[in-house]
């Protein structure tokens, strides 16, 4: 079984767990998610964007890099993009992941919680979600292209799709 390769993997920076990659106009960034969420925020007119690999829904009183939790990653991305001139009003979001790979996902259902948290927070900020591929039992490889704002999604054994 093989997955379709969307791009040369060696040349694309990859966001590990809790990482956020801010892209320039010519950049691509990728990440692999299971129950985590790959979130892109993109300003189409300026061609500026960011890809986050969010692990958990809430920070509560916990520490960690801003990309680790949905409620810290999203405000951080918005602020950093605003500092680059990409104001919140011009941003659109795409989200992917939130899988439950091992049967039911257990009583905690982290993938479901992650997806719900990201969607709620984006809604509160008024950032429209223009593409999503969530849930299911499989992991996903995501490639974000900041020239186009496209999010390419690969799932093992399935044709690649583009959001």
């Amino acid at each position: 079984m093989t997955a379709t390769l969307l791009a040369d993997r060696k040349t694309i920076p990859s966001a590990g767990m809790s990482e956020i990659i801010f892209t320039t106009k010519l950049d691509q960034a990728c990440c692999i998610v299971g129950s985590c969420i790959a979130l892109t925020l993109y300003h189409s007119r300026l061609g500026k964007g960011a890809l986050a690999h969010i692990v958990l829904p809430r920070s509560v009183d916990r520490t960690g890099p801003p990309g680790k939790f949905a409620d810290t990653a999203i405000p951080y991305m918005v602020d950093m993009l605003a500092a680059e001139g990409a104001n919140q009003a011009g941003l659109v979001a795409k989200i992917c992941g939130g899988a439950s790979m091992f049967g039911t996902g257990g009583p905690i259902k982290i993938g479901v919680q992650n997806a719900e948290a990201v969607k709620r927070l984006l809604g509160e900020l008024g950032i429209p979600i223009v593409g999503e591929d969530l849930a299911g039992p499989k992991g996903r490889r995501v490639v974000f292209d900041s020239q186009t704002g496209e999010m390419a999604v690969e799932i093992v054994g399935q044709p690649a799709t583009t959001l």
Binding site: G34, F102, I110
Partner: protein, 204 residues
């Protein structure tokens, strides 16, 4: 690896506890594969979430895996992962056939790997059950193929919900002396991890 029996452990550390489980799993694997496959525990480490992929050296490669969910009073998952080539070779060896060339795994090949997971998880859980005095029953196995990183991340996410650090048992698989890129991920739930830590701390 030093020989450790759970019965002999008077004050088991986390390393000793998982060494004993791995040792029994290795014996079972050795019998199942006619002496070809063994495994040993390299170390038990706690790492931050951000370090997990790098620590386990798992990235974008596709892995084949057998997943067991733990049933009983305490939960968790035990996941055995294989690289494609060596997983195929194991299945072929167990079935007495040539290595399969179809892109899809046959039902028989999947069954051979699932049975391998049964044997390994049964031995592993038996030792832990005896050590912590709690019933851990592996579910029927199921076969999956996915990106290595997504498997690893999903496995540690349950621990990440309640802790900023995750427990990793680094395990070395060998076939006739040659290292294999296989892994066992044992991912206890919060309750099970507490029970394990309580057992270790109480005996120290």
């Amino acid at each position: 690896m030093k020989e450790v029996s759970v019965i002999d452990i008077q004050k088991p550390s986390m390393d000793q506890l998982f060494s004993a489980a791995t040792e029994d799993a290795s014996k079972a694997m050795c019998r199942w594969t006619n002496g070809k496959i063994t495994l040993s525990l390299e170390e038990v480490v706690e790492v931050t979430l951000e370090e997990v992929s790098q620590e386990m050296e798992i990235g974008e490669e596709l892995l084949t895996m057998v997943v067991h969910c733990l049933e009983g009073e305490l939960g968790g998952q035990l996941i055995l992962t294989f690289d494609e080539q060596n997983g195929r070779q194991l299945a072929a060896s167990l079935l007495g056939r040539e290595v399969g060339t179809d892109s899809e795994w046959s039902a028989l090949e999947q069954s051979a790997l699932c049975e391998t997971g049964n044997i390994l998880s049964g031995a592993y859980m038996k030792v832990l059950t005896e050590a912590i005095d709690a019933k851990l029953v592996p579910s029927a196995p199921y076969f999956m193929q996915d990106y290595g990183a997504s498997i690893l991340h999903q496995a540690v996410a349950a621990q990440a919900m309640f802790s900023d650090r995750v427990l990793i048992c680094r395990t070395n698989f060998q076939r006739e002396g040659e290292s294999l890129k296989w892994n066992v991920f044992f991912v206890p739930t919060e309750d099970l991890l507490e029970k394990i830590e309580h057992t270790v701390n109480a005996s120290e």
